[in-house]
Symmetry: C2
Subunit: 222 residues, 2 copies
């Protein structure tokens, strides 16, 4: 059976989980406590980071970039990265937007301040940093609203890895109660569509010890 080593609140692991479900590829989830730096796990991925996927053919893939592109190359059913070269360029531009820009400006800091500090007993969250993230997230929600005012989905008229990447990051922050949905109703509409997809449901039932999501977290009509 295909295995995915993951942590519950990693946006990059969530991205791969959604993509696998969308492609109807069964897999077993393996919790990997990366902070314990297990030797056996470093043998799978010398970077010591999740996600890592071990496919049925034994191939080991590390990082959501390699896994995501691999899934599209190896399993052509339910394509999620566009058909034309131009579509793929736009999808990858937006994947980069969320996996790099959004992560650096928002999700990385919020995860560090709210989750990592608590797990590692590493002091209180820095409220200045959290306030700055809040400003940035509004601007990213505006961008999602802008894109979906012109298109059905983020990268065009079709659902793609761009939507998956964006929703993966937002789902983690939503779990922590940090997405000001009322700021951008159109972005909220897009996210409601994401939440109602079967591929998204397992994420919505995830619960992490010590962190309780807001009541609307798993409600598609939030």
């Amino acid at each position: 059976m295909r295995k995915l080593y993951h942590t519950h609140l990693s946006p990059f692991c969530r991205k791969v989980r959604i993509q696998l479900k969308e492609k109807q590829l069964p897999f077993e989830l393996v919790d990997e406590p990366v902070w314990e730096r297990r030797k056996a796990f470093f043998k799978l991925n010398p970077a010591g980071e999740v996600p890592v996927m071990v496919d049925e053919n034994g191939l080991i893939l590390s990082g959501s970039y390699a896994i995501s592109e691999y899934l599209e190359e190896a399993y052509e059913d339910y394509p999620l990265i566009g058909k034309t070269i131009g579509e793929r360029a736009e999808i990858r531009r937006l994947i980069n937007w969320f996996d790099v820009k959004f992560y650096q400006e928002v999700s990385q800091d919020i995860l560090f301040e709210k989750v990592f500090r608590r797990l590692m007993d590493h002091g209180q969250p820095d409220s200045d940093i959290l306030r700055q993230c809040k400003r940035y997230i509004s601007y990213h929600l505006d961008y999602i609203a802008h894109l979906t005012s012109e298109r059905s989905w983020l990268a065009g008229e079709f659902f793609s890895v761009a939507d998956i990447a964006a929703a993966a990051h937002l789902s983690v922050l939503d779990y922590l109660g940090d997405v000001p949905w009322d700021h951008a109703p159109r972005a909220k509409e897009w996210y409601a569509l994401m939440k109602s997809r079967p591929s998204f449901r397992p994420l919505l039932s995830d619960r992490v010890r010590g962190f309780r999501p807001p009541v609307y977290y798993d409600d598609p009509d939030f």
Copy 2:
């Protein structure tokens, strides 16, 4: 003519410049002072970041991920991303290693402390941060030495975008005199091979006002 909007000390722009040269694709370099946040540039890339490539067919590509994958899809001569699915997975794992892990642990902080602060008149470099980067860079050089002790190039027996990504980051730090080459002679040998490639030469003759590279910077026998 194909255009590449860039800044001289961006590892991501350097990565695309080397890849274009390796693929024998002519292009015109356009300096983009991203810190001025030019409106016209935001129209090309709403993220306001380099690299941006405008191809001969008019297609606009933003970010080294989208550009790099596009170049391999659109121009099949001189392939740099592997032939088999397994080769590509390994190349992308290593691209991610340098573009994300190495960037976050080393090049981003050094660029901020040494270049951005000076350009923006934003105080003195933080010596604690620079010391930490120095520790991290040694560990990455060890990893390059480890890989090249088993393989001809980073991802296998062939030259690939993995080598290009790693060398792009290191070339920027080398310009700033921040690579302790003597720490890992085997990594230095690999980099000497990179420096002697025609695709690398334009980078070695780059000079940025206010920043003088060490004398060995452009010498392949350093």
